[in-house]
């Protein structure tokens, strides 16, 4: 059974059609990279999968673990095990990192009909995961992402992912705005979460991130469709030749 099965997915932002028939299957434990130039529909794909308002699906289907993903609210999708690591993690004034994580974690437990986590146990869990990502206690006490550097924000995303243990992680341009040290730290965090069950969809413009998080499959997205699929060597080819061949004068 596939974790994710996207068939002929069409989606609009406002009146404009952005996704024009996407087909993609991801099996448990696989890491897929979707690469494409700016404006190709990469971020739209991630938002459509996560269930953001304002992105309307006009055709096709998305199945997640045999469920119709498109029928679910954003929070239900998250509780089913879809995790979107944001390209631009949002600053949430006044809500501390710890409160945010606890609410998210308990939401999932409630969704599954289980008791909420013991506060002390949960604190220990978060602290140990934060330590792996070189995040201080102070960062957990501060409001989510407020005043964080680009690298800190991305590490915070990975921390949330580590705590929530999703079945499918969508990493939207996780490398953007990171210097090489921050990139390594984030990539290590992601690699530590790779299991034979957990699947990942890495959305990126550049091949650079894929040096650190090695994908099983690479897809090229342009004009709202997957133009080509291949192994990790496809990423290297794109790095050398660019996306020009996918444009053919079309916009």
């Amino acid at each position: 059974m596939s974790i994710l099965s996207i068939e002929n997915l069409h989606a609009n932002v406002g009146e404009t059609e952005i996704l024009r028939g996407i087909n993609l299957k991801i099996e448990p434990g696989e890491v897929h990279a979707v690469m494409g130039p700016n404006g190709s529909g990469k971020s739209t794909l991630s938002y459509v999968l996560a269930g953001r308002d304002g992105y309307s699906v006009t055709g096709g289907s998305v199945e997640f673990k045999d469920k119709d993903l498109l029928e679910l609210e954003a929070d239900e999708r998250a509780n089913e095990g879809v995790f979107l690591a944001f390209q631009y993690p949002v600053e949430v004034p006044g809500v501390t990192g710890m409160t945010f994580l606890r609410e998210a974690y308990n939401s999932r437990l409630r969704y599954e009909g289980r008791d909420e986590a013991d506060a002390m146990e949960f604190l220990k869990l978060v602290r140990s995961k934060a330590k792996d990502l070189n995040m201080s206690d102070d960062m957990l006490k501060r409001p989510v992402n407020v005043g964080f550097s680009g690298g800190e924000k991305k590490r915070n995303e990975i921390l949330q992912m580590a705590v929530l243990e999703p079945k499918l992680a969508i990493l939207d341009e996780t490398d953007s705005g990171l210097d090489i040290d921050a990139l390594k730290l984030v990539a290590d965090g992601v690699n530590a979460l790779r299991t034979s069950e957990r699947s990942m969809l890495i959305i990126t413009h550049y091949q650079r991130l894929l040096d650190y998080i090695e994908p099983d499959h690479v897809h090229v997205l342009a004009h709202g469709q997957i133009q080509r699929s291949g192994g990790k060597e496809l990423a290297l080819e794109l790095e050398a030749n660019g996306y020009a061949e996918f444009f053919d004068g079309k916009v």
């Binding site: 996560a50 269930g51 953001r52 954003a74 998250a78 949002v90 006044g94 939401s107 999932r108």
Partner: protein, 443 residues
């Protein structure tokens, strides 16, 4: 205007009836005099008119047309604890404006703090009480004061001895109970030199009571003293609350004021601070949470009359349904008040397109070397924030609750007393849940 015409106004009939009320027996003469003077003054001034600049957004017409009655001696068996701030402190209970010994607990009050109600006040204290507060009220503030005098039920006199510094706050609990009862109380605080105390006020009502409550505080803070003054206005949703706080602050003293407005169909909290000397730190902050048809008015006036003092003012409100908020804040800087540092901000979060906020931040500055800023914002919950929380599994309602709580939490953080801050945060969180998010399950 002649008084027979005035008496046609239902509320004025109530004012007239209050004159015959002598709750304190023979010692009531002094009180009766204040009431009679207040009544004459009030009829002379009339109800605050919307023509007055500071009454443009809050109209008392409906109140004037409502008939209230003098409270009978009510049987209030116990305080509605769930609506009162949970603070560990000696307690002064006012029931329908009058000091209630049975519900008060002053056994643990420290010796440096003197508390008397009207009956226990000495002649000296009465004389002090009668002195005009240096904060000269403008014309539009006078009717509220006169009304408070005319209906005066009781007086609290709190004196903090010079040099007396207490970590334990003092809690004034004012409870309304009955059907269309009206009452009025006055609190006089004299904080001696270099003293320190936190005074907490909780205003609440017995379940299903409707009342009119008027509360005037006169506060005198002597040099080097610190006074925290925190208030939870959690009156019943059908009641009216009119409050006026006048504070005068002397050299190197500090005043930390916070008003949290939650209850009442109509409430107005007017806080006027007079900074008489240099080195003063004056904070006037507040939060308001309005739902249904509630109307909440926060009017503040901070007057810098001396060089080198600091004032800070932050208000944040959340308004849902048809609720209406009013914020009027003015910083007035006299020509001699050079090096004044003033900050003022009102932010409102509107959760419905029928909710409304009228915000009027003002600076009036006659000195040339000052640092003053002010501003106001109105907004809604941001889709970006909501989506981020939902993308982590938090459902829409919990996400809204978290964000609103965080919004109000930021202004509660301004409170300088740690224990009061924590108590108010807890209450705010419960009230938000109750008022905004659990309404459907209530009935």
């Amino acid at each position: 205007m002649n008084s027979s015409v005035e008496s046609i106004v239902p509320f004025n009939q109530f004012i007239d009836s209050a004159q015959g009320d002598h709750p304190h027996g023979n010692s009531g003469d002094w009180l009766s005099e204040i009431k009679e003077k207040g009544r004459i003054e009030f009829y002379k001034l009339g109800w605050p008119s919307p023509k007055f600049e500071s009454w443009r957004y809050t109209n008392l017409n409906k109140l004037a047309k409502t008939q209230f009655f003098l409270p009978q001696d009510m049987e209030l068996a116990k305080l509605p604890y769930q609506d009162i701030l949970p603070v560990d402190a000696p307690k002064i209970a006012l029931v329908n404006g009058k000091f209630n010994r049975e519900l008060s607990d002053l056994s643990t009050i420290s010796e440096g703090i003197l508390v008397n109600n009207f009956q226990g006040m000495s002649d000296e204290q009465r004389a002090l009480f009668s002195l005009e507060n240096p904060t000269t009220l403008p014309k539009e503030g006078l009717p509220v004061k006169a009304l408070n005098d005319a209906l005066l039920s009781d007086v609290l006199f709190i004196e903090i001895r010079p040099g007396w510094q207490s970590d334990v706050p003092l809690h004034i609990v004012s409870i309304g109970c009955g059907d269309h009862v009206g009452f009025s109380s006055k609190i006089f605080v004299s904080a001696g030199e270099n003293s320190h105390l936190d005074i907490v006020e909780s205003h609440a009502g017995e379940y299903e009571s409707t009342y009119f409550s008027s509360c005037v505080s006169n506060i005198d803070i002597k040099a080097g003293a610190r006074l925290g003054h925190y208030k939870l206005q959690n009156d019943t949703n059908t009641s009216t609350h009119l409050a006026l706080t006048q504070t005068s602050i002397e050299a190197d003293a500090a005043y930390d004021n916070f008003v949290m407005s939650v209850g009442g169909i109509l409430s107005r909290s007017e806080v006027r601070s007079f900074i008489a000397a240099s080195g003063v730190e004056c904070c006037v902050n507040g939060a308001y949470l309005g739902t249904l048809n509630q109307h909440m008015d926060n009017t503040t006036f901070i007057e810098h009359a001396a060089e080198g003092s600091k004032s800070r003012e932050v208000f944040k409100g959340v308004l849902a349904d048809h609720a209406k908020g009013v914020f009027q804040g003015k910083i007035f800087v006299h020509p001699e008040a050079q090096k004044t540092d003033g900050y003022q901000m009102n932010r409102a979060l509107l959760l419905s397109d029928k909710a409304e906020i009228d915000s009027k931040p003002e600076l009036e500055i006659y000195a040339d070397d000052v640092r003053c800023s002010h501003g106001a914002t109105v907004g809604e919950l941001e889709e970006e924030h909501l989506f981020y929380l939902k993308a982590r599994g938090i459902n829409a309602e919990s996400a809204r609750r978290l964000l609103v709580e965080a919004y109000i939490g930021e202004v509660i953080d301004e409170i300088q007393s740690q224990s009061i801050k924590e108590a108010l945060s807890r209450v705010a969180s419960d009230l938000l849940k109750k008022k905004l998010f659990e309404r459907c399950n209530e009935r």
